[in-house]
Subunit: 641 residues, 2 copies
């Protein structure tokens, strides 16, 4: 097979690839990150690159203007390599892994519910519900040295001393620690610190260190999202959150959602690359956190991860392919606690990594963590948890039962698959008002910068405002005519939110009828899921006393507008509690409490999974919801547009 060299700028990385491969696949192989939210299908038009030298072949695409074509701009996913190439990746096509502060992302990470004070205080009660007993505990021991009257071996001496303090039926120690034991005990004059890790129903002596290091015991809680990864450094002794980091999941380059990544995992080295992408991000976050706090990596003894089922499979390098094949069965919902090093996570080489168990292929440990942290299973009253993401997970229940479903909403609320969509990060339009008289648009962006694009909460506001201003009708068609903000496009009519002279890229930020359609489908999928689940259990919306809304909306979500577009049920605002990242909160609880870990296991077993795709009425319900707010206006009695 003929091979060619492709050099990417500004990265200045060169790779040799076979003739006929796409520029996108060459970039992936070279470790160059190009934006692509459709998974390389030629649909999203985000992977524009400039060909500086060489020849490619490309299918025609409406995603490139004549002007762009004239300037040798191609879609990397469609252009196949026919010679040695030099390729420039313009800034807007680059997937930049910004390190964003929680403030920039507007995240309420300290507490579970930051805005409402009385709920805040109930939150701290929640955090204290579980007995403090972290995944790994350090214990300082002063052993009686052996003498002729007390000659038990070093290992049994250690066990005896530990068991004076804790009742541990099954205790284990790896050979590596036993090999060092005699020397460590004697060089430390029989004063050592043991790290005890909870491992699959047993307790492992993870580490044996000379002297008293018990004050230095740290762990990480991770929420591994399809799009975003949150990491928190926790002092396991004091339960204090020392640092919170958030960044993109580098896997995004291989596909925007779990399905495209599962497909990519089947390619040669695909699983390996996806695995490394997530592990690299986590290791970078760990490194950054410990550097900031001058913590020794060896004092990080454990990591607790919450993620959807696919993310956990990829983290552990377990083939995820069966997740997307009927009957949609993952390899494992409950994965054993392993040594973090086995997954490539760099903490203490003998440190542990545990994952919150999942319910099914599409309701993962992140949802279980969410249920745990919201405390739904402790409530007498009926509660609902809606995690709005690419995969919209819904859990309904109380202390008697818990049932879940997953509505495949698509990535629109996470800013993918919509023309000017972006994640809830710096520069995202998150809040919008439209003057119904002159159609003037006012908005605020995350970080108060010039606008770069629109995030999920921005889209909810825009559509609600457009409805109220009668710019669109209830079907989502643009009905306003003859206004300078209204234009025709390849994707139906479009409405300009911000003109190029005020935006970061200099290009207009718009919403078109195709975008509105995407958002409508996303909200219909979630609403239909919620409706079906509630009806399936024989309840009405009115029966739900608390609705927890989770998701990557930053710190803002206008509940009123979410109801207005028909995303959320038409109930009083006081029933809604916006919890932000409930998965991370749950992961932290499990990291800090073995009781919470056991509870998470119970929840994963207890939560029933309801498969929407085999429920005949789901499609009906979905079709009925393809309207703002709904075809059946009686379902939204308080919404007047």
């Amino acid at each position: 097979m003929e091979k060619f060299k492709v050099t990417f700028y500004p990265d200045n990385k060169t790779i040799e690839v076979e003739k006929g491969k796409t520029i996108l696949s060459a970039a992936i192989s070279a470790g160059v990150y190009i934006n692509s939210s459709c998974g390389g299908e030629g649909v999203c038009g985000r992977c524009k690159v400039i060909l500086k030298k060489g020849t490619v072949l490309s299918q025609p695409t409406g995603r490139l203007s004549l002007e762009e074509r004239r300037h040798n701009i191609y879609l990397a996913c469609l252009a196949t390599i026919q010679s040695d190439l030099e390729v420039e990746i313009p800034e807007e096509s680059r997937l930049i892994f910004e390190k964003l502060s929680p403030e920039e992302l507007g995240l309420r990470l300290k507490g579970l519910y930051a805005e409402v004070e009385e709920v805040e205080s109930s939150m701290s009660i929640l955090e204290n519900v579980f007995i403090h007993s972290p995944l790994a505990t350090k214990l300082y021991l002063e052993l009686p040295p052996p003498d002729l009257n007390d000659k038990i071996s070093d290992l049994e001496r250690l066990y005896r001393e530990i068991r004076k303090r804790h009742q541990i039926p099954i205790m284990q120690t790896g050979l590596a620690n036993i090999r060092r034991l005699g020397e460590v005990l004697r060089s430390s004059n029989w004063k050592v610190t043991v790290t005890l890790g909870k491992r699959n129903g047993t307790v492992e002596v993870v580490l044996i260190e000379p002297g008293n290091t018990s004050k230095r015991n740290y762990g990480f809680a991770f929420d591994i999202g399809t799009t975003t990864i949150y990491g928190q450094l926790i002092d396991l002794n004091t339960k204090r959150i020392l640092s919170t980091k958030v960044t993109y999941n580098k896997q995004a380059v291989f596909g925007p959602d779990v399905i495209t990544r599962i497909i990519y995992a089947q390619e040669e080295d695909g699983l390996e690359k996806l695995h490394h992408a997530v592990v690299d991000v986590m290791n970078e976050m760990i490194q950054e956190c410990i550097r900031e706090h001058s913590i020794d990596l060896n004092d990080v003894s454990c990591v607790l991860c919450a993620g959807n089922t696919t993310m956990i499979h990829l983290l552990l390098k377990i083939d995820p392919s069966y997740i997307r094949r009927e009957p949609y069965v993952p390899t494992a919902n409950f994965v054993p606690t392993i040594r973090a090093a086995e997954a490539g996570i760099k903490i203490n080489p003998r440190g542990l990594l545990s994952c919150i168990p999942g319910v099914s292929s599409y309701v993962g440990g992140d949802t279980v963590a969410g249920v745990l942290s919201c405390g739904i299973e402790r409530e007498k009253d009926l509660s609902l948890l809606i995690d709005i993401g690419t995969n919209g997970e819904v859990v309904l229940g109380n202390r008697d039962f818990l049932i879940s479903c997953a509505a495949s909403a698509g990535p629109a609320f996470e800013g993918s698959g919509v023309s000017c969509g972006m994640r809830a990060s710096s520069g995202a339009i998150q809040k919008v008002k439209v003057n119904p008289l002159n159609y003037e648009v006012k908005f605020s962006t995350i970080g108060d910068t010039k606008p770069k694009g629109i995030c999920g909460s921005g889209y909810i506001d825009i559509i609600a405002e457009m409805l109220k201003a009668k710019i669109i009708d209830k079907a989502g068609k643009i009905i306003l005519k003859d206004h300078f903000r209204i234009r025709d496009s390849d994707y139906g009519k479009e409405f300009v939110i911000a003109f190029g002279n005020s935006t970061l890229s200099g290009q207009d930020i718009i919403i078109n009828e195709s975008d509105i359609e995407n958002i409508k489908r996303a909200k219909a999928a979630i609403f239909a899921g919620v409706s079906i689940l509630i009806r399936h259990m024989g309840f009405d919306f009115e029966d739900i006393k608390k609705i927890f809304i989770a998701g990557g909306f930053g710190n803002y979500l206008d509940i009123e507008n979410a109801k207005l577009i028909g995303l959320l049920p038409d109930l009083e605002n006081t029933r809604y509690i916006f919890v932000g990242n409930s998965s991370l909160a749950g992961a932290r609880q499990v990291l800090l409490s073995y009781e919470a870990m056991k509870k998470a296991g119970e929840l994963a077993s207890k939560i029933t999974y309801f498969e929407l795709s085999v429920e005949p009425s789901y499609m009906e319900e979905y079709m009925a919801a393809l309207f703002f707010p709904h075809t059946d206006s009686l379902r939204f009695p308080n919404i007047k547009i």
Copy 2:
């Protein structure tokens, strides 16, 4: 530091070493095996080598004749390297690792007590005392494939099926197996064989294989002795012994006993070399056994080892140095079950290795295995187990109590440290008769070959016969005069057993007063240990109903002669049961039964260790026993010499 090249013949191995090192240490580094039973102290005179080229410096030694010195023969342990050398190792100095059949070693390996038929049948009862439940079991499963009504994950599906058959509270599976699980289950059409291993109070899914491989499940039982290693290939399904191998422990090159090896372990790479020496031997035995029976290495799922505490430390590469430092505490008596590969043992890469727990530094898992296989702890009557080796282990007890001690006898009974001593293998003089009238000597050798040397049972016979023929007195002095078999030597008078014209090497086989002294000390140490232990518990010899004699004596030990020299108490012969290798029998039982494994653990905890070295009367008792049979003839009322 100046360095020189040393080439060894006939091995034709060259190594570069620092000036001033001994030839013996160069040989060890080069992996050339030279005989040395004193551990390189210049005492045993076995490491004779011929200097072909180059210069050495050597201390004077009585171990070399003028003739030998004239022919450039040196002791490898005393000759220090001063230039590049070429060294020839003559055959008699080579440590040859013969693979001996059990017949050649005269070993009764099939049963525990081969000679006495009624005991043989009680033996098979003993073997069946424990429920058949091997360290690793294979289980063939036909799983119901998942469908939309039964969507639990692959791992939970597997666990569910296993738990239908066995009650397993804690089940574990390693990440490597989980990574392969989805593929294995589907490619095998949901028909798989799992290997379940007992691991430290939990059950591990060791292997998951497609199809039904449950018929093919093999394990090895090993007795790792200081001198000799026994290995048995066992069909874990049928409990059948398929093969028994026995060979030398290659560690012998680093020192004849545990103490010299512990000292050697402190040298650079010493522990590493000792570890590899034993592991290499075990791997060779495994390879040979599976080749003979056309068994796939992957079908060998576990290994069970019994050995003294030092041997187990070296097998697992745990520093043994604290064993010989007061207060003589090992790093671990109970070592966890590990993956065999962690210790370098090559069976199925995920197969398990378990060791029988020991009691103390000098009463190890081999003794526990012996007690288990003799069934002492099930008897109402008082029994005694005496394992005669370099370290003489003694266990006294019944179903109510068990107490042990270790008498450091030295290696004389194993053929080391005595001029013509050798192990109980082909060519060893094992049975001797001396005509009291003309002092003619008749003997038989193992394998009926020309004599090469004298093994333990041979020495017992020789001394007893010399006593009866009044060649020696009760102190062990040679009192016969003016006979062609009696000569003077550097080591007192000597008595010729076989003249060079009838021996394998052409050299005379003799016993001298120094040898007799060594044997006397060895028997005194063991007898004193036995006496002290019995007295310590308030018993008399007469109270002991059964005495089990174990040790590397081949298939022959003359109990009458052993009593006559004062090695064994003066009790009726019917109380004695010669059990041969009871450690291997115990290892096999533990390999085949989890119940036996638990029992071994209980025994190791239950057996009290009595430290002879701190018992004031031990030295007295030992001194009193330095006489044939004893200074106090009332202790041996039936012995008339």
